[in-house]
Subunit: 214 residues, 2 copies
DNA sequence: GATTAAATTTGTCAAGTGTCCTAATTTTGT
DNA sequence: ACAAAATTAGGACACTTGACAAATTTAATC
């Protein structure tokens, strides 16, 4: 049961790469496991995402889970891939959007990100990933790759708005803008104290970012 | 062995509230436990901060550790208090600083925060706290209290720079500025891919924030 | 319907977790 | 020196964790 969203763009929960062989039942099991793991991660945090709890959540035995994912690392990596992929397709869509002024596209992409930040999934998962990335090189690399793709559209928009900027300047600006929005997760994300101020914050962000690139 | 810092302000590792009774030796033990826990948290993450590993890290027996901290929650809460207090004293110092222009003070406080973000301790601990705060109301409340104190000096500086702003506008601006800087932790913090771009980012931040309040 | 591969169950393993308990030892104030 | 308080040491408990190795059941194909 997915919640309907009036937004122009939105991010699906998971994007699971289809596998080669196997029966239909196996593919369903595979997906339901990833969904259960995601649900557990969002609702109760990484600590709660144990193999046993994941197995129980999708109503299979532990041994069966280890059949799909021999080690927990396998599960984590695939879940991470599925989650991150779900964001990346969205950025692709925005990149290929035309017939809009650069300023409007900047505002659009900021709106997408800031709206996404308010979802429970994003608010819960990303801090978890940031923490993991401090001690897990794989998570660090994967998440930085995601952010690199998130900056790409920002980069080209900035170039459109102010062609005089150097590549370094553009990239650093995009980095600052991206980081700036991510930081709001902690304060105005789902269930956070300033969630209701997000409309104000969006306006401040839009205004500030446009001023910054000019 | 503390690293020397040329910065005007800097944050001590821990600020441990002294206890009432007890002997000197007990206080030392108390402190060394918190230091060991902090070290473990920074170096290997929250998962590694088990009672046994903390005890081993400061070379005492598990039973002894549970004498100081009967439950792990006691340890976590006190560690959290000590860590957070260490930041709060710094904000106090900045608030009481006079004879400087508002713009200069804004730049000073941003420099303090952005320099602090580059330290290993802050880069490692805060994502951990953000993740914990999603599922632990105590952590959430304590960390939001910390940020409230961090915004206080920003708030008064903003009022000085632009007295025409309403209270709400000031607070939301301070919130945005604070969040903006916190977000950089993930990208330009200790050992992060864009750590070396921090000087650029600092200039962008200073410029952008000043534009924003005017 | 038999055969083969896929999927699932059941049970076990060593290691780690937080908490609790009791006896010895050390330190402190009188 | 003495008694009380504070500290240390060590072990035990019940539980969870990730991983593994069989058996058993289910599904698709010849």
């Amino acid at each position: 049961m997915k919640q309907s969203s009036p937004a122009k763009f939105s991010v699906p929960d998971l994007l699971i790469s289809e596998r080669e062989g196997g029966y239909a039942r196996g593919r369903e099991g595979h997906e339901s496991i990833l969904r259960a793991a995601l649900h557990l991660l969002v609702e109760e945090g990484y600590r709660a995402m144990s193999m046993r709890r994941v197995a129980a959540a999708c109503d299979i035995k532990l041994g069966n889970l280890t059949y799909y994912f021999p080690t927990k690392e396998d599960l984590v990596r695939e879940l991470l891939d599925a989650v991150i992929s779900s964001y990346e397709v969205e950025f692709e869509a925005i990149i290929h959007e035309e017939d809009v002024s650069p300023e409007q596209r900047l505002e659009e992409i900021c709106t997408l990100i800031l709206e996404d930040i308010r979802t429970k999934k994003t608010t819960r998962i990303f801090p978890e990933l940031w923490a993991l990335s401090n001690h897990d090189p794989f998570v660090l690399e994967r998440i930085q790759e995601l952010y690199a793709r998130a900056r790409a559209p920002l980069n080209s928009i900035i170039a459109d708005i102010n062609p005089a900027l150097s590549v370094d300047q553009r990239e650093t600006l995009a980095l600052f803008i991206s980081a700036s929005m991510e930081g709001l997760t902690v304060f105005a994300g789902y269930d956070k104290p300033f969630e209701n101020r997000m409309p104000w914050l969006e306006r401040i962000a839009a205004k500030g970012f446009v001023q910054l690139v000019n």
